[in-house]
Amino acid sequence: MTRDARGRFSRDFYILLIPTLMWVICFFVVPSGLMLATSFAQRGTHGGIVWHWTLGNYAALGQPLYGKILLNSLFIAACTTVACLILGYPLAYYLARVRSRWRNVLLLLLVVPFWTNFLVRTYAWKFILRTDGLLDRVFTALHLPAPDLLYQHVQFSVFLGLVYGYLAFMVLPLYASLEKQDPALLEAAHDLGASPLASFRHVTLPLSLPGVIAGSILVFIPSLGAYITPDLFGGGKYLMVGNLIGQQFGASLNWPFGSALSYVLMTLVLLGAVGYFRMMGTEEI
């Protein structure tokens, strides 16, 4: 019971509310607010912040160098999302149809690596892709030219690493939407004369569309904000927007610009999140 007869909240309500609320206000809401304020401030000569309001940090995004990094990040995130969808949809479809004894094992195998250390998993790829790494050795052994992916094609390597990192985010919502579809619907479609392809196009696909959208958002958001993958693969020289932000708080010491960049990224992420909750409902988390 939330309230007593006089409409006051009960004691246990406040016991539950206050500590967590204080925590998220102190360490999430206030820092985010400070970052917003900082994004409109100016950079001091030796780093630091001078509280003269300006829109210059946002305007700086128009500079070709920064604009290019932002657009490139969006491009890579989009490619990652599409690749995850192409790989993930058939897998989700397969998982939803496979016999249930196998299904649970396969789902577990999909979920477990995704909870394990992301840094280490990315490092493992570096081990394979680097110059004269395992991949190059395999190619050499087959008398093919070594691709030297990490050095020659950082962008492609990052894309590969992101697909690897976030594929499970795509498969799980897809699986959820495909799995709850009544198989009788497909039988009904066949019964009404639809070919397998037509019944997929007119029944299965439209019904799984929420899963497609949810999965796409779930892959797009972390890909756009990636930090570890480009940092590790590019050795600090290849920048996505996350790395650019990190740099402002490290080497460049331009906190206001870093804050502005963060807010641009955050806005994009929030737009995605709003889309996701529209699709799934807020209580579904």
Binding site: F28, P113, L119, R137, P196, Y227, L265
Partner: protein, 261 residues
């Protein structure tokens, strides 16, 4: 058309096989080469435990390990208490501002780590909070709190409220009802959430990297700086393998607890 549909089925199967290979090959490669008896890590020189032996004698590594554990334990404790109360609040109470509260608790999940990290870093800088264990722990709590909340809420949803009424009916006051009925029944969810939080804390790199002070490093930060400094080395392979094994174990345990009825 049996031939066409069976051909389609094998396409699905091959795709699945390829994806699972894609997911596990790098991990297995890492694991295998951590046993390689060679400094030049790509060619196989025979099975050896020498890199694991070297790890055991590496005192810096032990210290980082201890740091990771302390941070993980404290952060998990706080996140579990706060996350459980958030879960209870969201499942049991309707109040004005509930949506905003939920957003504040859940948003860190979808925020890119880097944004969370630098907003905290900025905050610490502006309020002059000296960096050390506390600053890292705070970050880890913000990061893991929503995961605990989600797991405990799922457990609460499967909870029969009539059991609490039965306890009240038998003379238990609110606290006794919570301690003797509610808590034992949602305990697997709380424990599952806590394990998840602990795993995430042990694995975190980005938040730690931006909120740590000089001298307080964790295991992932050590791995990062080792690979930065020395590139790919068998020692790094060995620590990484251990860390991977560890989080796999914890995640399996957590999933098992979440399923427990």
């Amino acid at each position: 058309m049996p031939t066409r549909s069976s051909a389609l089925r094998s396409v699905f199967r091959i795709n699945a096989l390829f994806i699972y290979f894609f997911l596990y090959a790098p991990i297995l490669v890492l694991l295998i080469f951590s046993f390689n008896d060679s400094r030049y890590t790509v060619s196989w020189q025979g099975f050896s435990l020498r890199w694991y032996g070297a790890l055991f004698q590496n005192s810096i590594l032990w210290e980082r390990c201890l740091n990771s554990l302390i941070i993980g334990l404290v952060a998990t404790l706080i996140a579990t208490v706060l996350g459980t109360s958030a879960a209870l609040l969201l499942e049991r109470h309707r109040f004005p501002g509930r949506g905003a509260y939920m957003a504040a608790v859940y948003l860190p999940i979808i925020m890119p780590d880097i944004i969370l990290a630098i907003s905290l870093s900025l905050f610490y800088g502006l309020v002059h909070l000296p960096r050390g264990f506390a600053t890292i722990i705070i970050g880890h709590v913000v990061l893991t709190l929503p995961f605990v909340t989600i797991v405990v809420r799922a457990r609460l949803r499967g909870f029969d409220r009539q059991l609490e009424e039965a306890a009240a009916d038998l003379g238990a006051n609110e606290w006794a009802t919570f301690r003797r009925v509610t808590l034992p029944l949602i305990a697997p969810g709380i424990l599952g959430g806590a394990l998840l939080a602990f795993t995430l804390s042990l694995d975190d790199f980005v938040l730690t990297f931006f909120t740590k002070g000089v001298g307080v490093d964790t295991l992932p930060v050590l791995i990062y700086s080792m690979q930065r400094k020395f590139g790919v080395t068998p020692e790094v392979n060995a620590i990484s393998s251990l860390l991977l094994l560890n989080s796999t174990l914890f995640v399996l345990l957590s999933l098992r607890l979440q399923k427990h009825r």
